[in-house]
Amino acid sequence: MIDFNRHPSSYRHWRLRCEGAIARLDLAVDAEFPYAEGYELKMNSYDLGVDIELADAVQRLRFEHPEVKVVVISSATERVFCAGANIPMLASATHAFKVNFCKFTNETRLSIEDASRHSGIRFVAAVNGACAGGGYELAIACDEIYLVNDNSSTVSLPEVPLLGVLPGTGGLTRLVDKRKIRRDRADVFSTLAEGLRGKRAKNWGLIDDTWPKSRFVDKVDARAEELIGELPSKEPCEGIELGPIAAREDENGFSYEYVSVVLEEAKRRATLSIQAPTSPQPKTAEEFAQAGDSCWLIKCFRELDDAICQLRFGYPEIGVILLETRGDQAAILAAEEGLVASQDSWLAREIQFLLARVLRRFELTARSLFALADQGSAFAGIFLELALASDRIYVLDDPDKPVEMAVGPLSDGQLPMSNGLTRLQSRFLADPDAAALLAREKPRMTAVEADERGLATFLVEDLDWEDDVRIAIEERASLSPDALTGMEASLRFGGAETCDSKIFGRLSAWQNWIFIRPNATGERGALASYGKPEAARFDWRRT
């Protein structure tokens, strides 16, 4: 299994220092310590190992350092800020790894924007050297970008002209949607391998300002202080420590305290089982602070997050994930009520944003997700959200073994999808009132009632359950995995688009198509040929 646990004290590639309201996150990639063998991480280029640390840092800043208001991301490597994703790594990786690597890094950048939007943290990219490709995509995920003016450092997105692929970590989308760069200039910038230096980059809006090297650090610090002054003051508080997430492997799969995964690799499916709380949960801010990372909401969803990442990276052939919930519905709802009642505490809010992020990671996973509301299930509140995030919901209709479902207090906009809607809104695009009513009433429902209100894909009678569900799963597992990935991604996110949904739905889809085209990854494709003696050769036919 992949160990996603990291700690600042043992980062290989980043240095994190917290100085009161300012945190400094410096990239200093250890070239000799790549995630996999066969390449060196030159020029502050990154791979999965580097990004896992970044994701850890952003998460920890929110939970462990609630006093931080400004994060300055910079480089501790001479003359280079970041050269983007490591090309030899990408060129030698499998298609599945490339796609999941990009998805993970996208989620990390979105977590930066999420922290900015919700946690009163401003991210400042202090670009103190060359900044190319994924390096600029990291910068553009920050709120403000400052580029050193040394007459040579540039910002650039050289993917198209040099590698024949896209700046796929949100770069193209954020150019036009976030920084609102004029599209013709974005077009020029995205095909200009050498990028733009300070003055023009500023004129075009690619950066916020450019300062000479001798004054750069002072200017960045002054801007950080200014931002601290502009942001609302934070209540004095102490963070909670995030301990490591420990998974146990066994012959059936792997498990944690509240989450377990049973793998049936021959049938290409996994059962993801998730457990309601078994002990009383915090009801007040003080109790949340006291419980720290052992509180069920945090623990359970961090475990779920880890399990999703394990399935994505470690088990590419698992096509169907069956979602199973167990435990006491009332305990789930009580835990959520406690969270809602403590909304004036920073920690309760952070927990809510964590839940939202994990839910989004769940529904951005390219596997068929079937929720099974069978006997003993507990699809209430955030577990119902997981069901709503799934492609189908099978609900058992058996008067002797009654299944109940319940809408909880967090289904009314607290846990938005990447398209900006709630899962109820996304489900009932034709009937917004029904969605609103469910969110308002927060009903506890029998299987039949749940079906009547549109929450069941199929209401299945007891005697049919076994066969119907088995056949549905087997049939699903037999379909083309590529077609399913495209189909599910298209159907899950109805309604309007946001920057986030465009990154995953549009940019990533194009990128993943380009990744398998000969012009990128064929023997003489641009990505495969990069750094090789012979130049790329293209099939010139446009599609």
């Binding site: 007459n151 003696p533 012979e534």
Partner: protein
């Protein structure tokens, strides 16, 4: 042979008079260049009359014209070697196709970077040397310095001509930026690190012109093979000027060695009479040779492979047909590289080893120079021999940069290396001593005690000729 227009504001043999657009652009750049020269060139000597040579034609021998001139009035011009009729591309992926007279769109970025990087070194070296005139050991040497400076300035013109002529608005921006960067400036340094440290003594200057300008020669020679014909012709002419700079360096170091040997032969201690001992000269050579080798870039370089493949940069004397495989696809380059505490053989595909090949040609060339110096020591019956350091020694770029090597090329650990550092490279005490020897000598025909006079003056003038007339 092409006609050189000497009457024009910008002397040239590229028909500037007819190309109004280019003429306007260059005439606009010219005052900025003069300002740059006055500001960061050898500015304390702007009012003095220097006996300089100026190019007046590009044919063999006929191009050098000597006269007194104030440096800011030097006639910087644009000169290209004459074109070869019906030239074909002779290496790389485009072999056999016609050479390019314009920049192919897909090569724009790579070509521009090559030109800007080369161009940036020219003004950089002038900036590095701007104070040297004050400590010139003779008028003869002072003149040589200014000749080198003026011609580096002309090389900048050559690169700027290409940028203005072939790269549109971007090229003009880059041409402006060449005058905005400054050697050693914290905010706006020159592109290559070696060009950001000042050259404060004449021993440094002569080592620079011997070793660093020689790197320039090999870079220019590789560009002279270019499929982009204007670049090839520009650099071919620059090479004829570069030869003089290297001659200045080789003779300068040679005269220092000669002077020291002369004193030793007479039984004197060079140190006691303000001459420079041979072991110090050796350490300076170690430093400058190794730093100059770094300028070739990594021995295993995808960048170099691409420049070769696309036909922009060839091997040394590629056009003479001395390589069997003009596509360089079939063979590999074998290099001994460090792995842990021993060396292993590494095969580098030939195209990726273009920098290594160029470096090897350079090393052989340097070796010839060192042998010449040693022959002089032999003639004077001095046992000391100058040794060219191994290409593994003291490297900060490429396959040897990750480990420590002696000047003989033996792998040693960092501790052993550091303990010998001051045996191999100049110490602060060495620098202080060399610095203390630098005293200005301005009487015609006289030379500082640490350097021998040359056999004759430039342009066959006597040694007591007044090469510089102070105002």
């Amino acid at each position: 042979m092409s006609q050189v227009d000497l009457e024009a504001r910008i002397p040239n043999n590229v028909g500037l008079r007819e190309d109004k657009r280019l003429l306007r652009a260059l005439e606009k750049w010219q005052p900025a260049f003069i300002d740059w020269w006055k500001d960061t060139g050898p500015s304390d000597f702007n009012a003095d009359q220097i006996y300089l040579r100026t190019a007046i034609g590009v044919g063999k021998g006929g191009w050098a014209h000597f006269d007194y001139v104030k440096m800011p009035d030097y006639r910087w011009g644009i000169f290209l070697a004459d074109p070869v009729v019906d030239r074909k591309i002779h290496f790389g992926d485009h072999i056999g196709e016609s050479i390019w007279n314009d920049v192919p769109g897909e090569m724009r970025n790579r070509l521009r970077r090559l030109i800007v990087t080369q161009g940036d070194t020219e003004p950089a070296s002038v900036e590095q040397q701007r104070l040297l005139g004050h400590t010139a050991p003779s008028l003869y040497d002072m003149r040589s310095l200014f000749q080198v400076n003026a011609e580096e300035g002309r090389h900048l013109w050559a690169m700027v001509y290409l940028l203005h002529s072939y790269f549109g608005a971007d090229g003009r921006d880059e041409a402006d930026a060449l005058l905005e960067r400054r050697s050693g400036d914290e905010d706006s340094p020159r592109i290559l690190e070696a060009f950001n440290k000042p050259i404060t003594t004449w021993l440094d200057f002569f080592c620079f012109t011997t070793f660093t300008d020689r790197d320039g020669k090999y870079q220019l020679a590789a560009l002279a093979e270019s499929s982009f014909d204007p670049l090839a012709r520009t650099t071919q002419f620059m090479l004829t000027e570069e030869a003089y700079h290297m001659q200045t360096g080789e003779n300068g170091v040679g005269r220092i060695i000669h002077r020291c040997a002369e004193l030793m032969h007479a039984g004197e201690d060079p140190r006691k009479v303000g001459a420079i001992p041979l072991d110090i000269v050796q350490r300076y050579i170690n430093e400058w040779a190794s730093a100059s080798m770094d300028l070739f870039g990594g021995e295993d370089s995808t960048n170099a492979a691409e420049s070769f493949a696309s036909g922009l940069k060839g091997r040394y004397r590629e056009g003479d047909g001395i390589y069997k495989d003009p596509k360089a696809l079939e063979h590999s380059y074998k290099a001994e590289v460090p792995e842990g505490d021993h060396m292993v053989e590494k095969e580098i595909p030939l195209r990726r080893a273009m920098n290594a090949l160029l470096l090897d040609s350079y090393v052989a060339d340097c070796q010839r120079i060192v042998s010449r110096w040693n022959r002089d020591l032999e003639r004077q019956q001095i046992d000391f021999r100058i040794v060219l350091p191994s290409k593994r020694f003291n490297r900060h770029q490429g396959i040897y940069s990750s480990a420590c090597f002696t000047p003989q090329g033996e792998l040693v650990d960092a501790e052993a290396w550091n303990s010998q550092r001051e045996v191999w490279l100049p110490s602060q005490a060495d620098r202080d001593y060399v610095e203390s020897c630098m005293v200005a000598v301005r009487e015609p025909g006289k030379f500082a005690n640490w350097i021998s006079p040359p056999p004759r003056g430039v342009n066959d003038q006597p040694l007591d000729f007044e090469f510089v007339k102070f105002h």
